[in-house]
Subunit: 261 residues, 2 copies
């Protein structure tokens, strides 16, 4: 059956994942849901993050969709196992694919991870990396201001430069050769992060890794795929933010509001 | 009847209001509710802010309480009229008292207002000031990064200094003589704001103004008032943040979790 791909994120950051999926599977229709009324997830508790994620994925599967992509690192960190148990369609996360790519990329086994407070606290990246590369040294850093800085579009601001330096300082001492950007907002800061750490460090972007992992048993070939966007709050803000994450041909013409509480 | 005072905020910022109320009414018991599972309110829509605020105040009045204080500027901006209509106990907000104080303070009639994106967008301060002082010139500035900077405890960081300068730049040109800090987190940045704008500018802090407005028909005189704290998420984070807003004798020993969705 010609079902769409479902993508869930706490807000607009997951649009970076949508962009990569649309690039690899141009014939597939997509339903995107952003829980903008309750974002950010990154500084909330395990129970709350898991409950919110399940509520939103319950909504996505009603379309129905043939696969669910959890595009939010924090939601992946706390809800991926219970989601996989609950639904009998494939549930793809952003954590495992990035960890796998980092393990294949690193030469010296020293891997940095940037993420929200909740993602880092969960230890999900540390576990995923050690499962594949037990001797790896993992250096996790919570960088909670990166999301508000990106959402305020202060990408090139001197204050952002200062904060990036501040957060990355411990990583510079640890001689990492690979860095995972463990939050969908962070690729927007990739250039600045790369400049701060030096070009020799390999940067792993979770949106790209996640899209690379998806394999579809039957692919749609339509030339006019249908993209639907749903948020739980503030359509205009979402549309404005979308311009930071999507190329103009993918920008949502229409966004629908669905209250989640 | 010896009922407590109810205080509502989207998170921990309203503790600045609790502190001022406790100072003025040391014999009163207090029930504080912070909707930490869904914060911040400051960049959400009118409908969502109003719905969340009503849900939380519905909970507070079940204790019951003799008065409700809406300690969050954004919630005050969007829900105060409907709350006053709905409940037959006094509902106090933070916006009207601050606007009133600013009107009494200004000499040249040029008043700046700092607030979250939603508070500024609502126009609540502009309306409240013009109702009292029609000839006033009001200069509203949304400064959405101040809350995450305070929550990250980067009060004295050079990046915070840069961002304060950036947000205040338009106000420096407008020759204001009075500035309203229209968010309960901002008093923590008062010194930096004052240094940036110059000492001659009068700074109005909404927590103090709000507490000054409260008059109780019957006051409790107990020497052991009971303070109860409720949050919708993450007790430890709330307790950690409380240290930035409360003196040590008021710090919550116990915080209770109540899911709101």
């Amino acid at each position: 059956m010609n079902l769409p791909i479902g993508i869930f994120d706490s807000g607009a950051g997951g649009l970076t994942v949508l962009r990569e999926i649309a690039k690899r599977f141009p014939g597939e229709s997509i339903v995107y849901f952003g829980d903008t009324a309750r974002l950010p997830y990154g500084d909330k508790s395990q129970d709350t993050i898991s409950r919110y994620t399940h509520q939103c994925v319950n909504y996505l599967v009603t379309f129905p969709v043939k696969i669910v992509v959890i595009a939010c690192n924090t939601a992946s960190a706390y809800a991926i196992h219970s989601l996989k148990d609950k639904f009998n369609i494939p549930v793809i996360d952003v954590v495992a694919p990035s960890a796998q790519k980092a393990c294949k990329t690193t030469v010296n086994g020293r891997i940095g991870v940037l993420g929200t407070a909740a993602t880092i606290r969960s230890g999900c990246y540390q576990r995923a990396i050690h499962a594949m590369l037990p001797q790896a040294n993992v250096f996790p850093i919570a960088s909670p201001l990166f999301v508000p800085l990106v959402e305020e579009n202060l990408i090139a601001h001197p204050a952002t430069e200062l904060l990036v330096k501040e957060y990355l300082k411990p990583l510079q001492l640890e001689k990492i050769d690979t860095l995972i950007l463990g939050c969908t907002h962070y690729p927007v800061l990739k250039e600045l992060i790369s400049k701060t750490l030096g070009d020799s460090i390999q940067i792993i972007d979770s949106a790209t890794c996640c899209a690379d992992t998806i394999s579809l048993t039957s692919q749609n070939k339509t030339e006019t795929p249908n993209y639907q966007f749903f948020v739980s709050d503030d359509i205009e803000r979402f549309q404005r933010l979308a311009t930071a994450f999507l190329p103009s041909n993918l920008l949502p013409l229409k966004v629908n509001l669905i209250a989640m509480d």
